[in-house]
């Protein structure tokens, strides 16, 4: 099979198309996803190819869309739901966290809700807090849902397929700023990503940077700069999955470097970095040379006009944190 060059959005589209093609129970629904292919065009051409009974333009009602998908999943379909922006997902929160994640447990295993909730997330598009939310941490708290977040073309395609095939609800936290900005060669072979595996993006000896989402590309630039300019050797881990996260990969890295910096776009307090910091001190206390540091957004809304520059963590702040942890003295 020949490799093709796709951007992230096209890779997500190819993943959905592959599963719509191979499994008649897969349906796709959301606001404007059909005829127009979604406001980002992520679902372009799918309604034309698979018909309006399976690629469905819905009323403007996030709660209703997710709740109806829950019913479809109970009946045996595998719905993919597009939430237009993660900032609109809160209206559907009850149906994701108290219904989709609960039917299996609360029915003693009799029912299940295999469904994918696509949540276009992250900043960098001048979207303000409606369109640039990183609200994935809300979904971490109570089990029953897996959380995947691709930041490469390969992951976009394979995580989409893995999410659709998974027997439980999956939140797919999509990297809006990479939709068109990142492209790569990929073979569209229908292979799913393995859920729960992190990726060592860059091997290094001095400090582990644990991150996820599009900001991993910023971290990579900082690491290259630091290597060239200071000799600091950064190891970068893209978590890829928040639930379940790859504890083995994290501990291998942190016990080797003895230093951990966590970088995410989401707000600081009880962000996913808080969980990582806790688990690292529980399981690798004796290996740590320094406290765990976090680079995150502040606990305020994403600012419209200056948010991309001042609110969202950037290369400068990431670099400061890495230098600070390397200079740390007891």
């Amino acid at each position: 099979m020949k490799a093709r060059r796709l951007n992230v959005m096209e890779a997500l589209n190819a993943g959905m198309a592959h599963e719509l093609e191979s499994d008649a129970d897969v349906v796709l629904m959301g606001e404007d996803v059909g005829r127009a292919g979604g406001i980002f065009r992520t679902t372009s051409g799918l309604q034309q190819r698979f018909g309006s009974a399976r690629v469905i333009d819905t009323p403007l009602d996030e709660k209703g869309i997710v709740a109806h998908a829950v019913g479809m999943a109970l009946y045996g379909l595998r719905p993919i739901v597009e939430i237009q922006f993660s900032g609109f997902i809160h209206d559907a929160f009850e149906h994701i966290m108290f219904c989709a994640t609960r039917y299996r447990w609360a029915s003693g295993g009799q029912y299940s809700c295999p469904m994918v909730i696509r949540s276009p997330s992250y900043g960098g598009i001048k979207g303000g807090f409606w369109h640039s939310q990183s609200c994935e941490a809300y979904f971490v708290h109570q089990g029953g849902i897996k959380i995947l977040t691709p930041a490469t073309v390969d992951d976009a395609y394979r995580m989409m397929i893995a999410a659709i095939r998974d027997p439980d609800p999956v939140l797919l936290v999509e990297p809006v700023p990479l939709y068109r900005a990142l492209s790569d060669e990929i073979v569209l072979d229908g292979q799913a990503a393995e859920i729960g595996r992190a990726e060592v993006v860059r091997a290094g000896q001095d400090v582990s940077v644990l991150t996820y989402g599009p900001i991993r590309h910023q971290v990579a630039k900082v690491a290259d700069d630091l290597a060239a300019q200071t000799g600091i050797d950064v190891e970068i881990i893209d978590l890829r999955c928040l639930i379940p996260y790859d504890i083995g990969c994290i501990l291998d890295s942190v016990t080797k470097t003895g230093r951990a910096v966590i970088v995410h776009e989401a707000p600081l307090s009880l962000g996913f970095g808080a969980e990582l910091a806790a688990v690292i001190q529980e399981k690798a206390f004796g290996y740590l040379h320094t406290p765990v540091l976090r680079v995150a957004a502040p606990d305020v809304p994403y600012h419209f006009s200056i948010g991309d520059e001042c609110y969202r963590p950037d290369a400068g702040r990431i670099r400061i944190a890495i230098e600070r942890i390397m200079e740390f003295e007891h």
Partner: protein, 387 residues
């Protein structure tokens, strides 16, 4: 009583006539369809459904059994043997008659006052009581509050506990069946309070647009905990909310099982023809909201008395007597049989074991994550050390 307050005057959405509490005596004026009156006589409004003697007796026997279960549940809760109870006295007709109007492979999304739906589909009494006692070997492994029932083997989906949240799940499942080309129909029950939630409106809106094979039954029982139907909506009826979404709708006497059966049967047929229905069944919660409630704080005893004269059991019994199908001896035998069967079920269910703490972690995911494996091992270790 110190905290006693006057309840609001006649609820608009619950009533239909000035003064009094119960609109069933003037049903035609309130637009409420009926087959029988309070004395079990045919009113001449809706035609008498074509049900044979055995079916009618089965309907009535189930209503009595369900009433007897409620009486026992209450006693078990008050004596500390069941933790919590959600009474269903007076609400027997709607869910039992509607379930009988649907086929065995049709799906039902239950609310929480509907044990008859499971029993009609073959659940054993002991299964119900094991659920009330939270025992290990009932289908839901003791995880749900008493009376929040269901069973996939019987095509009865247990409710998501938030009132009304499951209405679009029922509609979505029906839509799924339509997409798959299956002939399954779907039925869901919810109360008057649930119509205030966005989910009710989402479901009706989607149903109007996508026309799945679903029947929505709003059991307007007059009260949502302490809030009267009149404070729930300014609409004249709950049924008319269907008009806004182009969903066929009607009101029936929810204490008249024959009217409910006729309406549900017709709605089931129409559901397969791209015509979902909203049926408002006008009924009354004769009991408490739950075992934690005290209706003396918010409603008048006269209201309960007036509705008690329209008790669905009394009306159905009189109807059967008029037809020559029922008498005092059968009535006494039935109650004796119910008491005996419930005694046996209680004894058997109460003797069953409670769930093992390790089972709390099961069914969160199809395959447990390492995170849950680790939390499970830690918890069980701690429990072991504490004991």
């Amino acid at each position: 009583m110190a905290g006693k307050r006057k309840s609001g005057k006649k609820p608009a959405a619950g009533g239909g006539r000035a003064g009094g509490y119960c609109p069933l005596g003037d049903a035609v004026r309130a637009g409420i369809r009926q087959v029988i009156d309070a004395q079990g006589r045919l009113t001449g409004d809706l035609p008498e459904p074509d049900l044979d003697r055995d079916t009618l007796i089965r309907l009535y026997e189930m209503m009595v059994l369900v009433r007897a279960i409620d009486e026992r549940g209450w006693v078990l809760q008050r004596s500390g043997r069941v933790e919590f109870w959600i009474p269903h006295k007076g609400l027997e007709a709607v869910h039992i008659a509607a379930t009988m109007a649907f086929a065995r492979n049709d799906w039902i999304f239950l609310g929480y006052r509907h044990p008859g739906a499971l029993l009609l589909r073959g659940a054993a009494l002991v299964q119900l009581f094991a659920q009330f006692f939270g025992r290990r070997d009932e289908p839901f492994k003791g995880r749900r509050l008493p009376t929040l029932m269901g069973d996939r083997r019987l095509n009865v989906v247990p409710m998501t506990t938030q009132v009304g949240s499951y209405i679009p799940h029922a509609c979505g499942a029906a839509w799924g069946a339509k997409i798959k080309g299956d002939d399954t129909r779907f039925l869901t029950f919810f109360g008057d309070g649930a119509t205030s939630r966005g989910e009710f409106h989402s479901a009706l809106n989607f149903a109007g647009i996508f026309k799945p094979p679903v029947v929505f039954i709003c059991e307007n029982n007059g009260w949502a905990v302490t809030t009267p139907a009149s404070a729930q909506t300014a609409s004249r009826t709950f049924a008319q909310k269907g008009d806004a979404y182009a969903v066929r709708n009607l009101r029936v006497d929810g204490n008249d099982p024959l009217a409910v059966y006729a309406a549900a049967r017709e709605a089931r047929d129409l559901a397969a023809k791209e015509a979902p229905s909203l049926i408002e069944a006008v009924t009354y919660r004769l009991g408490f909201h739950t075992s934690s409630d005290n209706p003396d704080l918010y409603r008048e005893p006269e209201e309960v008395e007036e509705w008690a004269a329209w008790d669905p059991l009394i009306r159905t019994c009189k109807y059967l007597e008029r037809k020559g199908y029922w008498g005092k001896r059968q009535e006494a035998d039935l109650w004796t049989r119910c008491t005996r069967d419930i005694d046996a079920a209680v004894e058997q269910a109460e003797a069953m074991p409670l769930p093992d703490p390790a089972s709390m972690f099961d069914d969160t995911f199809e395959q447990m994550t390492w995170m849950l494996e680790e939390q499970k091992a830690a918890l069980l270790g701690d429990l072991e050390r504490c004991s």
